[in-house]
């Protein structure tokens, strides 16, 4: 890729408003000629509070509606956010290492998306329910799911090693898009329980559904938006636009950015800088409060980037240029929050060292938990197929047990 091409791919997209009639008409192009991609610049609609240098962005028409949520944050909250970002990245790098050492079969890394997840994760209240895809380790962290519990499914000992109702964090969903509908149905249940718009902050409940940019192509995603709109369900759709769906750039998924599609479904859509934890937090807070107070769904698009491979099975060198990754390295969510809090005098090297030590301890804990995770007895594979007894499963379990017993002396 030439310098000129890198520059072009890095150029901001024309803002929607500049097109006549708001139309998203694409310029004429050949079948295999890629459209211009807004690979690094979220455009003028994107809500941002911290720039890549970690400086507070002045208030504008775009970000000021969300500023009050930041005013509520004290020094401990701000430090807590940075701590979460650092620890979540460490959980992720440990997951990656464990896969490379043969302890896990697969690991989907969230490298680069920490702020996009810690923002909504911290914005959710205890009673709010999250429906994740398979990469939401940062949301799980904020919801209080022990990180070692996430490893079971990637190690192959279970399909999800946590009780979803304990922390209101549903099991990971592998079929892209399914969870979007589960979230809407759950939110419809919340409505029927009368747990919206009561004015009681401990009772009013919102549901948050997570997917990637690839997921926005699925029928389920679009059906979820229809159902939510029609029911005015208390749900927040949170799309992490990390620009890639395995090897497919997001121009293979849409010609209009996800946040602008919300309009067509009849509820607001917001694009937020997903590498800015303050912005992703504030925008999520606003959307969640809207949902809890009975005003209905919101679509949030976190504009971010998948810095690593899609999963440990992926080879991004086959489809991605490193110049693109370099551009995003300069927007690192942790660097920027660190710079900001350092400049504000809220953290210093001693604090950072302490969190680094905490991260080491956490990594050790996860590693130990992974390596000592017992293999389930094979008889367990027959358990829980049905809630009530099913004669075929029982018969086959018994036959299997008898067969296995034949090998014992």
């Amino acid at each position: 890729m030439s310098d000129e091409e890198v520059a072009r791919s890095a150029a901001p997209t024309t803002p929607a408003g500049d097109l006549p009639g708001g139309s998203a008409a694409a310029p004429a192009r050949g079948l295999h000629e890629p459209p211009e991609r807004d690979i690094t610049d979220g455009g003028p609609d994107m809500v941002q509070f911290l720039d890549s240098e970690g400086r507070r962005v002045p208030l504008t028409d775009v970000n000021s509606p969300y500023a009050s949520f930041l005013d509520e944050l004290g020094p401990d909250d701000l430090r807590g956010m940075l701590r979460d970002l650092i620890l979540v990245r460490r959980v992720d790098s440990e997951g990656f290492a464990l896969q490379r050492q043969g302890e896990l079969g697969l690991w989907p890394s969230l490298l680069g998306q920490e702020a996009a997840q810690v923002g909504p994760g911290r914005a959710m209240r205890t009673q709010d329910y999250a429906f994740p895809g398979y990469r939401e380790h940062g949301v799980a962290w904020c919801k209080g799911v022990p990180p070692e519990n996430l490893l079971g499914m990637f190690r192959g000992v279970n399909h999800g090693g946590w009780d979803s109702n304990e922390n209101n964090f549903h099991l990971y969903t592998i079929v892209i898009g399914n969870q979007m509908l589960h979230a809407v149905g759950y939110a419809m249940g919340v409505q029927r329980d009368g747990d919206v718009a009561t004015g009681d902050p401990d009772r009013d409940t919102a549901v948050m559904a997570f997917t990637g940019d690839g997921g926005t192509s699925q029928g389920d995603y679009n059906e979820a938006l229809v159902f939510a709109a029609v029911a005015n369900a208390p749900v927040v759709f949170y799309v992490q636009n990390n620009h890639w769906a395995i090897s497919e750039p997001n121009d293979r998924q849409f010609r209009v950015p996800p946040y602008r599609r919300a309009d067509g479904f009849g509820f607001p859509g917001v694009r937020v800088d997903g590498n800015d934890v303050l912005a992703s937090y504030a925008v999520s807070r606003a959307a969640l409060e809207r949902a809890r107070s009975g005003e209905g769904p919101t679509l949030v698009e976190a504009f971010t980037y998948r810095m690593g491979a899609h999963t440990t099975s992926d080879d991004p060198t086959k489809y991605r240029i490193s110049a693109e990754v370099d551009i995003w390295k300069a927007k690192d969510p942790i660097d920027r929050m660190t710079k900001y809090l350092t400049a504000e005098g809220l953290v210093d090297q001693a604090w950072l060292d302490a969190v680094a030590a905490e991260a080491d301890e956490l990594a050790k804990r996860i590693r130990h938990a992974c390596q000592t995770m017992p293999n389930p007895p094979h008889s367990e594979m027959f358990e829980h197929v049905y809630a009530d007894p099913h004669p075929l499963v029982e018969r086959e379990a018994a036959e299997f047990a008898a067969y296995m017993a034949g090998f014992e002396d």
Partner: protein, 344 residues
């Protein structure tokens, strides 16, 4: 003829249709449990295209009888979420051939939620599917796709052939903590039978049979016909015709449940008669027919006098309705198969 449909002569027994019995079953379940809700296309004011939910929205409100957007994946997918929140959704798929957009949710989420959560999550939901042919419909309105779901572990698959079963099995399915695919024989919706409502406040304990028991609808000694749903009537007609002509004595087993199968009743019947025919509208290739035939040859081998014959749809897409008359198994095809198994 023995029949479980013959009700005791109480004041609550009445003659009614399968359609009305299904409606009454849902009504009873909704009255019993406020968490039961219905969802589907056109099920509100219209009462569904077959009117099975008629009057329920009027009585239970729009929050419990939900007219859903026209999106099957959406209907079943949101029902999953409702069930996770503690509701018991009963969803209607308008016709058999339109369940496929929801297939993904049914087989990857509905069937597996209990398993993947190691028993922590339950999805008590019922997916109602009017199925089968014989109504002169256009394509995609006449399919028997029960094998797809019976093939999937985690789902229970049942179907009814009598008013009594329509009423009781609907309530049992709704009360089940497992997801149930509930097949309704659309061609039989308006056939009448005796229904005992079991008193003013029907108690599930009054149900004459368990949800997964098979019923011997006609006793016989020469050959067993294993059948279910819309074909039970055909099998009974064949048995009666044979009886009138002093022909072979045919035992008709109404499976009622396709997953799990009531293997005890199946084996007892085949061991007694020594001959077995499977009868359903479903295409025979890799179907319930095949499972039944395999089960019988494996478990009744020493009692069999003849190979198991499958009487069902040929392996073509459901044909245009002008072919239905010959595509769908009828009394003659059953009697022909009976003659064949007796000729060994």
């Amino acid at each position: 003829m023995t029949s479980t449909t013959s009700a005791p002569a109480t004041s609550t027994a009445q003659r009614t249709t399968i359609a009305k019995a299904l409606n009454a079953g849902m009504r009873a379940a909704m009255e019993r449990d406020p968490k039961v809700l219905l969802m589907g296309e056109d099920i509100g004011k219209l009462g569904g295209v077959f009117r099975i939910t008629e009057g329920l929205q009027k009585d239970f409100g729009e929050d419990r009888v939900i007219d859903a957007p026209l999106a099957e994946s959406g209907i079943v997918g949101t029902a999953v979420g409702l069930a996770l929140r503690g509701y018991r959704p009963v969803v209607e798929i308008q016709f058999d051939g339109f369940v496929y957009p929801a297939f993904d949710h049914i087989v990857s989420q509905v069937a597996k939620m209990h398993y993947r959560s190691q028993g922590k999550l339950r999805l008590p939901m019922v997916i109602r599917i009017p199925y089968g042919g014989g109504i002169g419909a256009v394509e995609h309105h006449s399919e028997s796709n029960e094998s797809y779901f019976a093939h999937t572990a985690g789902l229970r698959v049942v179907t009814v052939s009598t008013t009594d079963d329509a009423y009781w099995m609907m309530q049992q399915a709704i009360a089940s903590d497992d997801p149930v695919i509930f097949y309704e024989p659309k061609r039989r919706y308006h056939e009448r039978g005796v229904l005992d409502l079991g008193g003013a406040t029907p108690d599930l304990a009054d149900a004459p049979m368990g949800l997964h028991e098979a019923a011997v609808r006609h006793e016989g000694t020469d050959v067993t016909v294993l059948t279910y749903g819309p074909m039970v009537k055909v099998a009974l007609a064949a048995a009666q015709a044979a009886e009138l002509e002093d022909g072979p004595s045919i035992e008709v087993v109404d499976l009622r449940s396709l997953s799990p199968l009531d293997t005890e009743v199946i084996e007892a019947s085949v061991n007694k008669t020594g001959r077995c025919i499977t009868l359903s509208e479903a295409q025979t290739f890799t179907s319930i027919h095949g499972e039944l035939a395999a089960h019988v040859q494996q478990h009744c081998f020493y009692h069999l006098e003849a190979p198991v014959l499958r009487v069902g749809g040929v392996n073509i897409p459901y044909p245009p309705s002008r072919h239905e008359e010959v595509f769908l198994p009828d009394l003659d095809r059953v009697l022909h198969a009976v003659d064949t198994v007796l000729s060994y």
